[in-house]
Each structure stands twice: as C-alpha cells, then as structure tokens.
C-alpha cells in the first residue's frame, strides 16, 4: 500500500488562545514495503502525525492518500483502513486485558466479524511471528515478562493483517536484550512479511542498525527526509534540534576533528571498526 501525505496541517484548538499548529505543511510519500524511522523531540508532532496515518485524526489542511485515494473523501471505508494500518502505541502491554494470551490476540480479528477458524488461524500465525512459544498461549498475559507482554500486544495488531505497521517507541523500558528482540521482530516483519514498518524512536543507535530511511520532525515540520546514512551526516543540525547522531558516528567525527583521516558518514559499529582499522592499515 503506498502512502502519500500531501501538505498536511493540523491545528489544535483553532481560533482560541490555545491554538497550536502541531503539523505544518508535512509532505512525504512511502512506497510499499519501506522500513522507516521517525524521529524528533518530544512535542515535535510525531505522535500527531502517526495518528493521522490511520485516520484517527483528520488533517485540518491537505490530504492523506492510500493507493491514490484520499482517506477524507466521502464514503471512504475508514474502518477497513484501520485494519490495514496497525498502530502500536507506547507501552502497548497496558492494553492487554484478556484471561489468556491467545484470547487477547483474537480480540482484534473477532471485531472484524471473521469466522472462528479464521480468527484462530490469524491469532496463531501472529503469535508465531512474534516468537511466543506454544506453551505460553494459554497463560495469563500478566504472567509474562515485559518483553513478552509487548510482543503479545504487537501480535494483537498483526492478527489484523496490517500492510503498514507503526511502532511508537517500541523499545521504551525494555532491557538491552529485549530491545534487540523487538527490533529483530520489526526486521522480520519488514523483510519476510513485506510489511511497511515505521518506527518512532529516540534511540539513534537502534535506528542506525535497522531502518533504511529517516524522517525528522521539528516543531511540526518535516525538516529532513532521506536515507538513514544521509540524515546522520547532519550532526550539527540534529544536535541543534535536541537530537543526536549514533554514538559511533559521533566518535568518527571526533576522530576526524582530531586529524585522523577517517570517513565520518558511517553509522554502525561494524562499519566504524573496518574504517578505523583501514586507516591504521590493519
């Protein structure tokens, strides 16, 4: 499913003293199967943008198009769109509520009015996709670890068979191994299931190792939209916005400043390792 966000504005409380332009002329497009990171300071408009993507909020100006069709147009099936564009909010495990894991994952597809067998098949596939073991299917979701709970919550969205999946801070509060598990899951959904994945994150190190393209929001505006490597080449601009480059990129640029002839447009540990060793002829 291709997405076009065309000159989208969103103004909260228009005409009052509390008027705030949360989105200001935001334009970009996303092809089917892309892997994108969305960054920006708190309050920069990321969450407002994300809630526009499945029609939870409507633009006050401009339009959003899926496969060329304006989702604000009369008669557009917004309910079907919400099945196709899955939103996983921060701390999605707070939304778990059923008696067991399997029932919880069935909740979404049940509301689509599908047949019992189809619902159960979808729940089974979704739980398998997020790596939950069979013996955990019938335990209470509240007896799982933090990382497992979060994966069950993501399975609940996957069972809707989304074509686009937006993960808002999917790693917040998880231990380093748990972070890696969630990001490996995002990789898998992107590469094996060809789902368009958009990750909202404050961790530049995580994004550097995973996504292919980064959108940067600042003060309601989309200020950068480029391949990951290109975005992280703008250290000064990012830092001025209260953001950062990956730690290894910062190290390379420090080394360059100190006079070592290294490239400073590299973003992963593996790349930095090879580059520094190359300079020393190792």
């Amino acid at each position: 499913m291709s997405i076009i966000v065309n000159h989208v504005d969103h103004i909260y409380n228009p005409g009052t003293v509390f008027e705030k332009k949360a989105l200001n002329d935001v334009t970009f497009s996303v092809e089917n199967g892309e892997y994108i990171g969305l960054v920006g300071r708190t309050g920069s408009g990321k969450s407002t943008l994300v809630t526009h993507l499945n029609g939870l909020m409507k633009p006050t100006g401009g339009g959003i198009y899926y496969d060329g069709v304006d989702i604000s147009s009369d008669g557009y099936d917004i309910k079907a769109l919400r099945g196709k564009v899955g939103l996983v909010f921060q701390y999605p495990e707070h939304q778990l509520f059923e008696e067991d894991v399997f029932a919880d994952v069935c909740f979404g597809p049940k509301n689509l009015g599908l047949k019992e067998t189809e619902i159960e098949l979808r729940a089974y596939e979704a739980l398998k996709a997020v790596g939950i073991k069979d013996e955990q299917f019938y335990v209470s979701p509240f007896d799982l670890s933090g990382g497992e709970k979060r994966r069950v919550a993501i399975a609940g969205v996957l069972a809707m068979k989304p074509e686009v999946l937006v993960l808002d801070e999917p790693c917040a509060g998880l231990d380093p191994a748990g972070r890696e598990e969630i990001l490996a899951l995002a990789d898998h959904l992107h590469s094996s299931l060809n789902i368009t994945v958009i990750i909202v994150s404050h961790s530049m190190d995580d994004l550097a190792e995973h996504v292919e393209r980064i959108l940067v929001m600042n003060d309601g505006m989309l200020v950068m939209d480029a391949p990951t490597r290109v975005v992280f080449g703008h250290r000064a601009e990012l830092e001025a916005m209260g953001l950062a480059v990956p730690e290894v990129t910062a190290i390379l640029s420090d080394l360059k400043k100190a006079g070592l002839p290294v490239r400073d447009d590299l973003i992963t540990i593996e790349e930095a390792r090879s580059e520094i060793l190359r300079v020393f002829g190792k």
Partner: protein, 281 residues
C-alpha cells in the same frame, strides 16, 4: 554505619488465583546485601523483572523486607516511628514525570511536598527557588508543567524531591521516555546534585551509557546481586553482562572490536574522549 545498608534482604510477593486464594509465593528479592555511603553515585542495572524496582521501593519504606533488614541513615525501614524521616531523606523519581506532577504551575508543583509537612511559607519559597536553580529550571517557574518538554518535566519532578532536602534520590529509569536532549539534561542535573550537593544517587537504568558516570554498579538478576564493581570493571565483563540480558556502552563495544582487530587500545574504555585519546595517541 553507612548511609544505606541492606542485610540479607528477601522480599516475596504473594501470588493469588482467580478467586483471591493464595496460589504461591514469588521471591522478587533474594538475599541482597548492599552497603552505600553518603555521597555515592550508584547505578543498578538488570533485565526486566530482575527486582530492581522492587528493591528501590525498599529504600524509602514503600515496601518492607519479608526477611532481613534495611537501614537508611541509621533507621530500620520497618520502624513505624521513623518512616516519615526516612521518606524525607530518600526521595523517589519515576519513569513518567507526569505521574508525579500535581501543581498547575511549576512553582506550585515543587512546593507541594514541603507544604504537606507544614514547613513555614517563607522557608518553602526559598526551598522552591533553590531547588529550581539546582536543576536549571528557574526561568520556567511560572510555566504550566504541560507546556514543558519531557526533560524539563523530569527536572521539575527532581526539583520537587529536592525541596524536601533529601540526602538520597532514587531514580527509577528517569530517562526511558525522553529524547536525546532530555536525557542529557536529566543526567547532567543528577550528576551535578551528586558532585556539588553530595546527594547520594541511586540510578536504575537500562541505558548503559548513563551507568558510566556511577562510582559503583550493581547488576541484578533473578532478585540477586549478580555482579558489582566500578563501571570499568563491570563493562569489561561483556559475556557475563550478556547472560544478564545487558550489554556494554557503544564506545566500549567499538573499543573491544578494535582491540580484537589488532589496535593497541587499553581495555575498559568508557567514554568517547577516552577512545579518541587512545586512538590518536
């Protein structure tokens, strides 16, 4: 006696079934010993569910040990007569600052706790002013907390604790929800309180970079202290950390890879400056 001493502390949660009957016990803290001096900066690391937050709630008497004892500033935390003294001397800051904000403007919010214990209004004004200066939020004293960034909110939450004149602040993942600048602001404020005011800091975090500044790190696993030492000691034990679902800072990881690749770099590198010095020397 040290500021905070834990002796063979055990804490068990009661698990209950659907009808509220006792289903069993879960040992969240398992024979933990701690010895923390006034003015120490301690980081506690560990995987989700390892007991870090449960342990932290023992430090200001929100939870009491099932077995063993904890002394804070010479008081047993189970001593009902001392509970308010303990809570005055140990302040807590949690992950989401919004959960601990009450006032409609920053000043009011910071004044809330001292007002509750009946401190003289003039004294409160002074405490609020000093606390906001310490976290560099004095310019926002008349702002609504809802208008602040995440890092600013968290610093206001810290100021609220400071207004109680604590000897120790326990911060439970204070930067988990913050953007990079917010993280920097909060960690800078915390380090300054430790350096300048000699406040004991106990920082619980999943961010290895933040633990680098600690005097000592404790790593928890399954309710026990699995490792303890200086950051340099802890972060040179990569494999053990990975068994605890943890990792080392990015800089340390890169330094380790470079050493394996044949560069002459000392072990235990923790900061960007150290690594640059080692490479460019």
């Amino acid at each position: 006696m040290n500021f905070l001493e834990a002796k063979k502390v055990i804490f068990e949660y009661v698990r209950r079934g659907k009808d509220g009957e006792v289903d069993g016990f879960k040992r969240a803290i398992d024979e933990v010993d701690l010895d923390i001096s006034q003015g120490d900066f301690i980081a506690i690391l560990g995987p989700n569910g390892s007991g870090k937050s449960t342990l932290a709630k023992h430090f200001n008497s929100l939870l009491h040990p099932t077995e063993g004892t904890i002394y804070v500033d010479g008081c047993d935390t189970t001593d009902a007569d001392k509970i308010w003294d303990i809570r005055k001397s140990v302040g807590m800051v949690f992950q989401n600052p919004e959960n601990q904000m009450i006032g409609t403007i920053v000043e009011e919010d910071v004044a809330f706790a001292p007002e509750n214990i009946g401190i003289d209004p003039e004294e409160i004004k002074q405490r609020v002013r000093e606390s906001l200066v310490m976290v560099e939020m004095q310019d926002h004293r008349k702002s609504s907390p809802s208008k602040l960034s995440g890092g600013q909110k968290q610093r206001v939450a810290i100021a609220g604790v400071l207004a109680m004149h604590p000897k120790c602040i326990v911060l439970d993942e204070p930067t988990a929800m913050l953007d990079p600048e917010g993280r920097r602001e909060v960690i800078r404020a915390v380090r300054a309180l430790n350096d300048v005011e000699n406040i004991t800091i106990i920082l619980i975090t999943h961010n290895m970079e933040e633990a680098v500044y600690a005097d000592r790190i404790y790593v928890m696993k399954d309710g026990r202290i699995a490792m303890s030492g200086t950051p340099r000691e802890i972060f040179s034990r990569v494999e053990e950390l990975e068994e605890c679902r943890l990792t080392v800072p990015q800089v340390t990881k890169l330094a380790y890879e470079l050493r394996k690749g044949g560069l002459d770099i000392p072990s235990g590198i923790l900061t960007r400056e150290e690594l640059c010095r080692a490479i460019c020397r």
